[in-house]
Symmetry: C2
Subunit: 316 residues, 2 copies
């Protein structure tokens, strides 16, 4: 058994660009950059809970690393190193080859070294740990939002939820819309450059994994504030152009998961800076609401009716 | 579901002693010490493969962290931070309470902060990532053994294998022997202080997880050397005093797993330094053989017969 898994492990052994000692010893060694804080996160993905047995292993490899990269991006940090622990019922070289290919495509896209890991027998489970760096004291946490700050989001969140609904036959997108939304679901693009640019601009930030409404709730809780979101301000035009009707677009944007866009707050004085970042990054960044000191999240529709996020959760 | 797992997560949230931002954000933040290399390792433990469903969760919590601590000790490094990802079929608060208790007992014993993690639904699986520090350039890898170096081992490896055999009724130890061997199996004590003391003394080192013979093979492979081990030199006296016969003691020592003692090589000129460390640490450290340039591992018995490790594997 050990030797079969040893062969599998070869697929994950590649030279690192900023690693002192990689796969093959008791532990890996790397040298953090002086003056930087280390930013670390881990995520466990279980077959049947987080992905289906027939998921393309190459897409899964990309996504497994990408969702971790997104956690680092959400701190305004730069991802640098990662570890992969992998359980599978039996050595399956074809699956591993595809998975490793997707994983290293993502690693290369974001200049991340895979420095080590573990391979073992068990129900198919993936655990990635990622390490990033950020200048000490400049990480963007969830806890810095203040009343008067404005709420912004990158890109067009909701695409992944629409892609999933399309694949499951629950709605029908245009061909171009389907291609873009399914790609958003299967090959999410973490917003590393935008996250870094928002350092010293955003007051609080996270990545959207469960929909804007639910994730904004995490900022409100950690910051001890409330917020109001304007439905009319949500970036729904792209979703509607993809073939979603108004209600589906709104629900996908507010409560659809798996997008990995950045949701952040910033003082009003930062509007011009944010617009410059949007231009430089060639990325839509949309102002959708405002932080206040009334606890909870209020979602205000075009007619001025105030609801909560609860009405939009049929995509979760 | 999220809220049940959120409750579970509370069990793992404790203030860190050397952490800037712990559980609850997109990622954790800590500040590596200037001039140190970071030493990282990850291990995945699967129910049914690595532990049985009826394993005491408190012992399992200790051991899950301890085996990772041992990887850091084997580099001559100091463990500092860890992450835990945990899948379980359903929130089981009693199990989690016991597991967290054992995990934090180990964390406290070795002054390690649990800085973050992930909790999800799935077959019971544990993944710990550990971070240590070592003065840059002073880590002890598996690759530094040279012909003429001597081979040493800490403690009395084989206790865990005897403890397991005793629990399974395959052999009968004395009461005192059973207590010590079962404790070695369930509550392994990683050799952090000894590992650190061996920095700049040992030429190559690893921790013994699969028995001396198999693990020494990893040093030989990475160092490109061979070795001869003298059976008569093995620290078997303690095992025999516990009630094991000669053959069982020898097999447990050479091929029994799960001990987490340190196996290392050092130039002969370091003998006195190693003996001083043994005295200071109040820990047996035994010279068991010698590195040479003949590929492979030869195990020489008291009559001068040369065998390989293969003959001693019935404990693996």
């Amino acid at each position: 058994m050990a030797s079969e898994f040893e062969l599998i492990r070869q697929h994950f052994t590649r030279d690192g660009r900023h690693t002192d000692l990689g796969v093959g010893d008791d532990a890996a060694l790397f040298t953090p950059t002086a003056g930087m804080q280390l930013v670390v996160s881990t995520d466990m993905l279980v077959e049947g809970t987080h992905f289906l047995p027939d998921t393309d292993p190459r897409d899964l490899g990309w996504k497994t690393l990408a969702v971790n990269v997104s956690d680092i991006a959400a701190m305004g940090a730069t991802p640098r190193w990662s570890l992969l622990a992998l359980a599978m019922p039996a050595p399956d070289e074809a699956w591993v080859e595809g998975f490793a290919r997707g994983l290293f495509e993502c690693a290369q896209a974001f200049d991340i070294d895979l420095v080590g890991g573990d391979t073992t027998r068990g129900p198919r489970t993936l655990c990635v740990t990622i390490f990033g760096e950020v200048p000490a004291g400049h990480a963007i946490t969830r806890g810095g939002a203040a009343p008067g700050d404005e709420v912004w989001v990158t890109g067009a969140p909701g695409r992944a939820a629409l892609g999933l609904a399309h694949l499951q036959g629950r709605l029908r997108l245009t061909d171009a819309g389907a291609a873009e939304c399914v790609a958003a679901l299967q090959r999410p693009q973490p917003r590393v450059a935008a996250g870094r640019a928002l350092r010293d601009v955003a007051s609080a930030m996270l990545d959207v994994s469960d929909g804007i409404a639910g994730d904004l709730g995490h900022i409100l809780e950690r910051s001890g504030v409330g917020a109001e979101i304007q439905v009319a301000a949500l970036p729904l035009d792209a979703l509607i152009a993809f073939g979603a009707d108004d209600a589906a677009a709104r629900a996908a944007c507010l409560s659809g998961g798996d997008d990995y866009e950045l949701l952040f707050t910033a003082p009003a004085a930062q509007r011009a800076a944010i617009e410059r970042i949007a231009t430089t990054q060639d990325l839509a960044i949309t102002r959708i609401g405002r932080i206040d000191d009334t606890p909870g999240l209020r979602v205000v529709d075009a007619d001025g009716n105030v609801g909560t996020a609860g009405g939009y959760d049929h995509f979760s």
